[in-house]
């Protein structure tokens, strides 16, 4: 019997595979087909204070081994989530993290405060890849100071698990990881999507209404692994590894690179049961090798060198 569960900041995850924010709705769309209670955890679509309609079409386009999206955080808003979606999630026997998005620090706080009043939520994941109205729309996620401030402000308001979800679109993600740790985050999630673009050469128009969007899927797996390795080498708090995980082998690469657990995103669109299958595959891998605890894989990369910001000659 392999131990698959893990505790992070007091929250028990039955296995180390969660579904990533925005790639599993609010957990209820697949209930008649998938036993979501077999997942290590469910992370909700990003919730904002008011409902958001999202961006005009086209919002998605497939690229080589990946996809670009520009959903614009379409979501039902935190209040409707509490009234319409949370009741179902309370009935599901797995960890639930509410992902929060906002365009001001006050809004982050307001959304969290509303959720603090509700049971059935084990913790929060903060999406900082959002435009900061005050800074003329520059993403919070690219400012170390703002990420630290958001973390500190939210930390002061909750004892629940607090994870900060970092953007890969920065020079040194380790600086952001350290800032989160210093400000009291319980964990960091690495990575959100990579900024990308595609063009329709017949119409000369961008493939997305917003021109650029977020790249996800297997194409970004090598980038995500490097970011997880960099971040995990920089902090002691757990790292959720995210990016292009399609199968157990991919997930194990992230664990070895230093992720305490992983999140599955785009793969859910291709197979809504992907997360469950991946959790099972990890268990099998350990069984075959006589590994008693999946945790033994975490950071067990057999490498001569630590991660260094030293970009080798590329």
């Amino acid at each position: 019997m392999v131990k698959t569960s893990v505790r992070i900041a007091g929250v028990e995850f039955k296995n180390r595979v969660l579904v990533a924010s925005g790639t599993y709705g609010y957990g209820d769309d697949t209930k008649d087909m998938v036993d979501v209670s077999k997942l290590g955890g469910i992370i909700t679509k990003s919730l904002s204070l008011k409902p958001r309609e999202g961006n005009p079409p086209p919002r998605i386009v497939e690229t080589a081994s990946g996809m670009l999206n520009s959903i614009g955080l379409a979501n039902i808003g935190v209040r409707k989530f509490v009234s319409d979606k949370l009741p179902f999630l309370r009935t599901v026997d797995t960890a639930v993290l509410a992902n929060i998005a906002a365009s001001s620090i006050e809004e982050y706080c307001a959304v969290l405060d509303i959720l603090e009043g509700e049971d059935g939520i084990d913790g929060y994941e903060i999406n900082v890849s959002c435009p900061n109205v005050r800074e003329g729309g520059l993403s919070f996620g690219t400012s170390c100071l703002l990420v630290e401030e958001i973390t500190r402000r939210l930390r002061a308001r909750t004892k629940r698990l607090l994870a900060i979800k970092l953007t890969p679109n920065v020079t040194h993600i380790s600086e952001f990881a350290r800032a989160c740790e210093a400000a009291g985050a319980d964990a960091i999630s690495v990575i959100n999507t990579v900024i990308g673009m595609a063009v329709n050469i017949k119409t000369r128009k961008p493939m997305l209404s917003t021109v650029t969007g977020g790249l996800s899927g297997p194409a970004i797996k090598p980038i995500a692994l490097a970011k997880v390795f960099e971040a995990a080498s920089a902090v002691k708090i757990p790292v959720f590894g995210i990016g292009g995980i399609m199968n157990a082998s991919d997930a194990i690469e992230f664990l070895l690179a230093g992720a305490t657990a992983v999140q599955v995103g785009t793969a859910n669109y291709i197979d809504p049961a992907a997360g469950i299958k991946i959790a099972d595959g990890i268990r099998q891998y350990c069984e075959e090798r006589g590994i008693a605890d999946v945790g033994d894989l975490v950071g067990a990369l057999d490498a001569k060198m630590e991660y260094s910001a030293i970009a080798s000659w590329l």
Binding site: G22, T23, Y24, G25, D29, T30, D32, M33, K45, E53, G54, N55, P56, P57, P58, R59, I60, V61, E62, A64, S65, G66, M67, N69, I71, A74, G217, P218, A219, M246, T266, N268, Y269, I270, D271, P272, A273
Partner: protein, 255 residues
């Protein structure tokens, strides 16, 4: 929605570069209603990455059929399927045509290009009712027409190589006066520009009309928010093509 691994029964070219794929699925076949679609993983590996949605063309017992033309990597992969190959299918998905609603006596089926795809299944359903059926098909040229398994078909081709020379919407418009007497309702599928023109006619003539839309989809079952359709009226700005559609009443959407 069911996720199953099926067996390919048959693949054959029914028109110029247009193929019909038949697969065996006792799970999906009994559930499908005309206008719904299935989401197929056309290949293993990561490129193409996403499933490809296809309208259900016909159902025969436990055999499910789709019709597709080869345009890009997904359809190229599908064309490579052989009898006995496995096929990873999610479905049925989406909202079907309201074929048994009481608000019409004559079903006016309109298909532009491969927009014909859902019409044979619609015809199968309608035949079992007491509704009348008239069908209008449009294609660029005669060799690209897929006109089997339909009733009362009239054809339009852009190059005039068969039937009416012009668009299928123009053809239908010429017949509308004679149809109006018989409480018609239009059920249409085709390229967006065609549906746009069709909707204009339907709204002007005040004939009820449902269209089946096409557009990019990532999941096909409502969890990615990737397929917005702009709604008219109501408090929500966007609906989801995959979940609230692909069929919509033209009065409810901006095409």
């Amino acid at each position: 929605m069911i996720h199953t691994i099926c067996r390919v029964l048959d693949l054959n070219e029914v028109a110029d570069n247009i193929f019909v794929l038949t697969f065996h699925s006792p799970e999906i076949a009994p559930l499908v209603q005309a206008g719904q679609f299935i989401n197929i993983r056309v290949a293993d590996g990561t490129d193409p990455l996403l499933r490809r949605p296809f309208s259900v063309y016909r159902i025969e017992g436990n055999a499910v059929q789709i019709v597709f033309n080869v345009v890009g990597k997904g359809s190229v992969a599908l064309r490579g399927k052989r009898p006995g190959d496995v096929l990873d299918v999610l479905g049925p998905l989406g909202v079907p045509f309201s074929l048994n609603s009481p608000d019409f006596e004559t079903a006016v089926l309109v298909g532009g290009g491969l927009g014909v795809a859902p019409l044979p299944l619609a015809t199968q359903t309608l035949r079992a009712s007491d509704k009348r059926i008239v069908t209008f098909l449009g294609a660029r040229t005669a060799s690209q027409l897929v006109a089997q398994h339909l009733d009362g078909v009239q054809v339009a081709t852009d190059d005039g190589s068969k039937g009416f020379r012009g668009t299928v919407v123009d053809l239908m418009a010429t017949m509308l006066p004679s149809l109006k007497a018989h409480h018609p309702k239009i059920f249409a599928c085709g390229p967006t520009p065609m549906l746009h023109a069709l909707a204009a006619v339907a709204l002007k003539e005040e004939i009820p009309c449902e269209v089946s839309l096409e557009g990019p989809m990532a999941c096909g079952f409502g969890i990615c928010q990737g397929c917005p359709v702009e709604l008219i009226g109501g408090e929500k700005k966007y609906g989801l093509m995959c979940k609230d559609g692909p069929t919509f009443d033209v009065r409810r959407i901006k095409i």
